[in-house]
C-alpha cells in the first residue's frame, strides 16, 4: 500500500484513492469526424508500461479531486504529482 501526496490534501494512504488509468488521453473534440480506427485508438489503446507511467488518480474518500501521478510501475515509486490541466514534469 503506497502513500500518495494528494495535491489538495497532502499525504494519504492509497486506500483513499482510486486509479483512473493512463493520463493525457484527451477526449476528441469532434468524435463524429473520426474513423473507426481513430476512435478505437482513443477508446481502447493503452500503453501499460513497465517503468515510468503517467496516470490519473482520484481522491475518492477525500477531496474527490482528480489529478495526475507519475509512477514507476516496476516498484510503485511515485516521482511526481500534479493537478489536472498542468503540464507533466519533463524530468
Amino acid at each position: 500500500m503506497f502513500i500518495i501526496n494528494c495535491p489538495y490534501c497532502g499525504e494519504r494512504e492509497q486506500s483513499e484513492f482510486k486509479a483512473g488509468g493512463e493520463a493525457h488521453i484527451v477526449r476528441p473534440k469532434q468524435p463524429t469526424e473520426l474513423s473507426d480506427d481513430e476512435w478505437a485508438e482513443y477508446l481502447f489503446m493503452r500503453k501499460n508500461i513497465k517503468g515510468i507511467q503517467f496516470e490519473r488518480w482520484v481522491h475518492t474518500h477525500g477531496c474527490r479531486k482528480w489529478f495526475n501521478v507519475v509512477r514507476d510501475t516496476s516498484n510503485d515509486k511515485i516521482k511526481a504529482v500534479y493537478k489536472m490541466g498542468e503540464k507533466p514534469p519533463t524530468k
Binding site: R27, W66, D76
Partner: protein, 1001 residues
Amino acid sequence: MTKNLRVKKSNLIDETYKVSFKFNGITYYGYKGDTLASALLANDIHLVGRSFKYHRPRGIMTAGSEEPNAIVQLHNNTSRTEPNVRATEIEIYEGLEASSQNCWPSVNFDVGGINNFLSPVLPAGFYYKTFMWPASFWEKYEYFIRKSAGLGKSPTEPDPDIYEHKYIHCDVLVIGAGVSGIVAAKTSAKNGYKTLLVDEKPYLGGSTIYQNSEHFKINNQISSSWLEKEINEIKKIENLEIKTRTSVAAYHGYNFLLARENLTDHMPLEQRKNKIRHRLLKIRAKKVITATGSLERPLIFDNNDRPGILLSSAIEKYASLYGVACGEKNVLFTNNDSAYETAISLYQKGINIEAIVDNREEIDSKLIKEIEKNNIKVYKGYTVVDTSGYKRINKVSIMQLSKDGQKVIGSKISISCDCLGISGGWTPAVHLFTQSGGKLKFRDEDQVFIPNIYPSDQISIGSCNGDFTLDEILSTVPKTLKEFLNLKKTDYEDLEIKSSFNKSKRNIWLLPSDKVIGKTKPFVDYQNDATAKDIKLALREGFRSIEHVKRYTTTGMGTDQGKLGNMHALGIIAETAGSKMGELGTTTFRPPYTPLTFGTIVGRNVGEYFDIFRKTPIHAWHIENKAEFENVGQWKRAWYYPKKGENMHDAVQRESKAARDSAGILDASTLGKIDIQGTDASEFLNRVYTNAWSKLAIGKCRYGLMLNEDGMVYDDGVTTRLDENHYIMTTTTGGAATVLGKLEDYLQTEWPELDVYLTSVTDHYATVSVCGPYSKKIVSRVIPDLDFSDENFPHMSFKDAKIGKIKCRVMRISFTGEHSYEINVQANYGKSVWEKCMEAGKEFNITPYGTETMHLLRAEKGFIIVGQDTDATMTPIDLQMDWIVSKKKYDFIGKRSLYRSDTIREDRKQLVGLLTENPNDVLEEGAQIVADMNKSPVEMLGHVTSSYYSPNLKKSIALGVVRNGKNMMGQKLIIPMEDKQINVTVADPVFLDKENKRLNA
C-alpha cells in the same frame, strides 16, 4: 513407559510449574515455557506426523517457525480446532490437546504409508499428471486421495475467539530481537526515535541468549550474560515498545507491514474467554531495521528425513534453552563449525556424542580442538550416505568423500545412534526483505543470497545480512546503525569480542552416494516430499525456470514455503543445468511469512459487521410489517411482505394485482439522487445522456439513458428540472456512487469549463412511491393543498408542495405503467409520510409492495433494469430503445461508438419479449435460448434476463436477449432445461398497455 530426557535447569523453563497435555490421546507432562516440541522430545517422542505424499514417518526437525514436519492439529473436533500448527512454536498449556495430521488411521499405522513403496509411480508432477486423468476416473479416486493426502482438518463451527486490527505508526520498526535487533532497538530508541521491536518468540535475545560458552565473550562476559543485561536495560526505555509473540507476516512497499500479535494461544482455553486472540498490526514505519537472523541449512543425502534427524542448531537450542536432550546417542553431521558449538554445549551438559562427521578434510579451529581433546571421534572428509530406522533413526552409514566431493570412496562405516544433528551452514532469512521488493546478490564464498538493493528506507543487519559470527555482527551492526540513523556514535564502539568460530565451509548441495540417484530419497522439501531426484527429473523433462521447477515438483510450496530446502533446490538446479546460482535468481517468497488464521485477517469484520449495510428511513416500518429483505448493493430493501401463510409467490402475486387494481406503495428511497446546479447544467445533461435536455421545461421530468464511451448502457433514471439551472437526477440503486464518480471525472478532466456543481443527496431524502388507479385519491388526501388535476399536474411533471409544515417534492412519474406519484421528503420525515399514505389509502386497499413486485410490474411494461436486462455489452439499439437516442445532438458520451463496425452489426444480441407455449411455464432467468436442438454443437442464441408469472395478464412473461432477435418477431424458439424443453415465441417486450392508457387512468 517413556524416558525423561531433561538434562538441566533452564531460565526459560519453570520446573516448579508442571503442565499436562495430550498428544494423540495420551497424557504427557511438560513444564511452563516448553513448546509442544520440547515437551515431546523430553518424553522421548520424535515421531509426530507423516509426510504429504509418501506418508513417511516424520519427526521434529527444527526449533522454530521454519519447521516442515512437526505440524499438528490442535483440539480436534472442537470449535477451536486448528490445523497446521507447528509443534515447535506452540507453547504448552494445561489441557492442550494435539494430534498428528496427515495420517490415517494413526501416526504409527498409516494406510498411506504404502505410497512410500509406490514411490516409483509417484514421481515429480504426480499431482499435475493426476489432474489429466479422465474426469470420471478422478471422481472415483478423489475421496480416497483427499482423505489420505489432506493437511489437517479445518474447523466446522464458528470461531469463538475475538480478533482485531490495529494501526501503528513509528519512526523505526526493528524486526527480530536477537543480538542485532536488541542493539538496534536500544540505539534507535535512545537517540529519540519512537521505536517498535517485535519478535515471533515469547522471549527476547534470539540464539545468543543461550550461548553459554567460554568461546563466545563480549567485554569479557559470556555473550548470553552480556545480552541479558542489555535486554534488562531496553525494557526501561520509554519510547521503545516491545512486542513478543509477534511475527511479521508481510512487508509491503512504502514500509507498510503486517504483523500478527499472538495474545492468548499460550493460555489454557478457559482463560481465553472475552480476550482478544490475535491482533493484526498494520504498521507504517518511517524506517525499518530487519534483524530476522538466519536459518540453518539441512544436508541433502539419502534418507535424510527420519524421525530423530534434526538441525544441529535445534539440538543445541533444545538442550540449552529448554534443558532437553534430543537423544542419548548423538551423531552430528556438518560441513562447517556450527555443529561443534552444539557438540561443546551437549558435552558440557553431559549428553553423549558418538561422533562428528565433517565434510571438510582439512580443518583447524579452537572449537574442533576442544572436541578432539575430549576424545570425541571426528570423521574428517566424510559424508553420511544412508540412515536406517523406520520410525526413529538407529544407524548412520558414512563414507569418505573424493577430493572433488563428487563421489564417495573406500568402505562404509556404520555408527549406531538415536539422534542425528545436521548442519549445512546458514541461510540469511531474507524473506521479508524480498517481499518488500528488495534485490539480492549471491555471495560465492559461502554460497548465500544477501540483501543488495533496498527499495525503501530500510536496512538488514546481523545474520540476515550475511554476518554470521558474533564478532562480525558486533563490529558491523553499530557502524551500519550510525549511518542509517544519522548518529555520531553508539554505545557499542569499542566492544571486545571473543569468537572462536572459524568460517570455513565445504558446500555440496547434493551429497554423493554409493547408490545411483534413482534408488535414493534425498529430501529437499520435507513437507511436500520433493527429493533431489524429482528436481533432476523436472530438468530432464525440460523445465528450466526455477519458478516452473518449483511448481512442477511442488518444492517450496508447502505451508513452510520450503524455508529449509529452497537453497538446495536452487543449488541442484544450477549444478544440473550448468548455470550459476547468482544468475538463476531465487523463487519469490510471498506473504505471509508464516501462515495466518482467517480470524486474524478478517478481524472484527464478522457477522453483522462483515460488510456495512444501509437502511432506508422507512426500514423500521418494513420490519414491523414482516417484510423479507433483499440486498441491493449495500442496501437492505424490502423484497416482499408475506401475509400469514403466504409464500413468496403468493405475496408477489397479491401485491402485483393490488398495485394495478387499486393501489400499491413502494419505498424508493434507495434510488441514487444527484443534485445538479450551475449555468451549464442543461448542457452537461445533453452531454451525459443520449437524449436532448435543453428544451425540458422547468417543472418537467424526463427519463434518460446514460452510456459509457464504448456505447454500452451504463445507467438510467428520471431527471427533473427544478429550476432554470437546477436539476435533480435519479440513478439506479446500485449505480449511484459510480455514476457520481463518472460525472465528476468528466467535469474535472474533460469539461472543466462547464459551470456545474454535483452533490450526492441520496441519503438526504426519503422517497415514497404510490401507484395504481386510486393513487391520485390517496396522495391528494395526504397533500390536500395541491391541485392534482391532469391539467395542473400531468404525467412527467413535478410540484413543490407541503405536508403540514413539511416541504416535499412530488413527481408524477411511473416505473410500473400505472398512474403514480413519488413523494420526496427530508429523510427523517420519511416514515411518517409513508404512514400517512397507508392511513389515507386504507379504504382503497393500499398494498405495500417490495422489489420483487416492482420488477414484475415493470417487466409487464417491458421497462429494462440496467444490470439485469443489460450486461455492459448492450447498446440502446440492442435494447430496441432507438427512440431515446438523439439524432440531432452533435455529441454525447458514447455516441461515436454507436456506429462502430461492431455495434452496427445486425446480428447482435437484442432485447425481446418471450411468451411460453404453455402460459403456466415460468422460465428460469439465465436459461439458454436456442433455435435448433439437432445442430451439433447446439448453437446458443441468447439467454433469459427477466421472467415472471404475471397475475394481471394471467400468463408467464419473460424478457431475454437473442441474437438478431429484432427480426425474429413471432418466431418459435426453445429453452432447453435439465428435464424438458420449453417452447417460446418471440414477442414485443411491452406486454401490457402498449398505449399507456393506465398512466392517466
